[in-house]
């Protein structure tokens, strides 16, 4: 099938869908978009730079807390709230990334995990500011102001479209990045860091750039999630949250740009479906994921493209 037609159909379906389903599903789909952005930003590291981060939840959580705290304490406008969350995640990723890019592979994974555990501990312990393990609830979603026109985002459908546009735009930016000269330098680092270094690439600097970009978009995902859920807790920074984009990328296929998007949709919907059927949803989810990873080592997207003869 022609790629443009496929995108057109998907786009049209996503526009029509919220009008056909219940608000519960609108909420769920909005969450899928957010997780798709989170996973795609993570995959800039795993799939394109060759770095395994086990600590992306830190930036997701800081995005969520930055946005929520901004609304709670300072301003109830939309963009400053999102801006603070994303900005905080960006700065944090820059600082932590600077300390992590000296090492690679498992050492890198462990360092990112260690730093995200510190962020979790800070959020958990700093009760006066973050609400500790009670989290922060009841923060109202600001409206979207276009000069003199106000769009309320309180309606789940309105917020669905807001997230759809922002997530799609962000994924498009990430797509442009991986195709750009910078993107090829990241892929060179993934394939053979030594070769890259010896043709004049300051590989650590480029790892840091990738890490900061990934942190930025993870922060945006977290910020959008906070506004969706209206409730945040330290769980957002816990290491299990860091596992989400890893699993999604594996399921969808981290060798394909849209793999994590597909993986996010499958994982989120599957989790929801199983969780409503049984209390032991983690067991069944684990079982299904095991089968997927073993049967489709290139992920779902890899398997689809292989069937179509595009290896």
């Amino acid at each position: 099938m022609n790629r443009k037609i496929l995108y057109g159909i998907i786009g049209a379906a996503l526009i029509v869908l919220p009008f056909l389903v219940t608000n519960y599903w609108v909420f769920l789909l909005t969450d899928v978009f957010i997780m798709a952005l989170f996973a795609t930003s993570f995959n800039l590291l795993l799939g394109y730079t060759g770095l395994i981060s086990f600590g992306q939840a830190a930036y997701y959580a800081v995005g969520a807390y930055g946005t929520t705290l901004m609304i709670k304490y300072f301003s109830s406008s939309l963009w400053p709230a999102i801006g603070l969350g994303v900005g905080a995640a960006f700065v944090l990723a820059l600082v932590i990334g600077y300390l992590c890019v000296r090492v690679t592979r498992l050492y890198f994974a462990m360092l990112t995990l260690a730093f995200s555990s510190m962020i979790y501990a800070i959020i958990f312990k700093w009760r006066g500011f973050t609400g500790g393990d009670d989290g922060i609830a009841g923060v109202a979603r600001p409206s979207l102001d276009f000069f003199f026109i106000k769009f309320s985002l309180a309606n789940p459908k309105a917020y669905y479209f807001f997230v759809l546009v922002l997530a799609a735009l962000s994924v498009w930016v990430l797509w442009r990045i991986v195709r750009s000269p910078l993107g090829y330098l990241l892929q060179a680092n993934r394939d053979n860091a030594k070769r890259a270094e010896f043709i004049g690439v300051a590989v650590k600097r480029f790892r840091l750039i990738a890490f900061t970009i990934a942190g930025f978009f993870a922060g945006l995902a977290g910020s959008l999630y906070a506004l969706l859920a209206g409730f945040i807790s330290p769980e957002l920074a816990f290491w299990t949250k860091s596992a989400d984009p890893v699993i999604m990328s594996m399921v969808g296929g981290f060798n394909r740009f849209f793999g994590p998007v597909v993986g996010a949709a499958i994982y989120s919907l599957l989790k929801d479906f199983i969780a409503t059927k049984t209390e032991n949803w983690m067991f069944y989810l684990g079982l299904i994921l095991l089968v997927v990873v073993l049967a489709l080592p290139q992920g779902v997207m890899g398997a689809i493209q292989r069937r179509r003869g595009k290896v």
Binding site: R176, L182, D191, N192, R195, E197, F198, I199, V201, A202
Partner: protein, 255 residues
């Protein structure tokens, strides 16, 4: 030796020990512009360590390295590479998951200082594409442009690495066993290419090589290393007759 030309590479009393093993034990060397210099020696003579010291892969314990009169001792590899020193490795280093075209595109990105460019697709930048295609043509890799690096034969991988280092537009090229593992035909191609790079582009080449036919057919000047020391140096005719060289190679020479 070519006289009246500028010195491209100078190495002064370079030393490197690995524990109690003396890998390079005080080497002096000077290579002039457009020279084709072979560094030979039996296995374990310190040739690869010597290359690694020059290109910043490892730091010397003592001594200095100068490139075009500028001291580069202890610099990190990417800074040295940017000055115009490119190298290949004994074990081929390419970008396996990228296509042949993309493999050569990457050094061109660096060369054209477009590392931070994100506004345009790399393949859409004419200057970058033309440069990459020109390098591929020069190496005869244009037919393989859309193949993944990992799918190439050993000889083609070596050729691709050659293309990668050439795309850096180096002034000094360090080749670590450029014909290792190649068929006779591929070896001839590589030797022809080295001659061409030297004659047409004026690139200074320093290479290590086990194949003595290759060494004596193209080197202007030969440095013989043995146990981390220079035991002989001179034109191919001089080195061939040097008794110390014959002694060092006796029983150890493999061809």
């Amino acid at each position: 030796m070519i006289t009246g030309k500028k010195e491209v590479l100078r190495v002064q009393s370079l030393k490197k020990n690995f524990g109690s093993l003396q890998a390079v034990g005080g080497v002096d060397l000077a290579v002039k512009e457009n020279e084709m210099r072979a560094v030979i020696g039996p296995n374990g003579a310190g040739k690869s360590t010597f290359f690694n010291l020059i290109t910043g892969d490892i730091r010397p314990d003592e001594g200095q390295v100068f490139f075009k009169g500028r001291e580069i001792t202890g610099w990190v590899p990417h800074r040295i590479a940017r000055l115009g020193v490119a190298r290949s490795f004994q074990v081929t280093h390419i970008f396996p998951q990228l296509t042949v075209f993309e493999n050569v595109l990457v050094p061109s990105v660096v060369q054209q200082k477009r590392e931070l460019s994100i506004l345009r697709a790399a393949r859409g930048i004419a200057q970058l594409r033309d440069e990459t295609l020109a390098t591929l043509k020069l190496l005869g890799l244009d037919d393989l442009a859309e193949m993944k690096g990992q799918a190439l034969s050993h000889g083609d991988k070596k050729r691709l690495e050659f293309a990668i280092v050439l795309a850096c537009k180096p002034e000094l090229l360090l080749l670590d066993e450029p014909t290792a593992g190649m068929s006779a035909e591929e070896t001839n191609l590589t030797v022809g290419l080295m001659k061409k790079l030297s004659a047409d582009l004026g690139i200074t080449i320093v290479f290590t090589e086990h194949d003595m036919k290759v060494v004596f057919s193209i080197a202007d000047y030969i440095t013989v290393l043995h146990q981390g020391l220079v035991i002989a140096e001179g034109s191919p005719e001089v080195v061939r007759k040097d008794p110390r060289v014959i002694e060092a190679y006796t029983g150890e020479r493999r061809e």
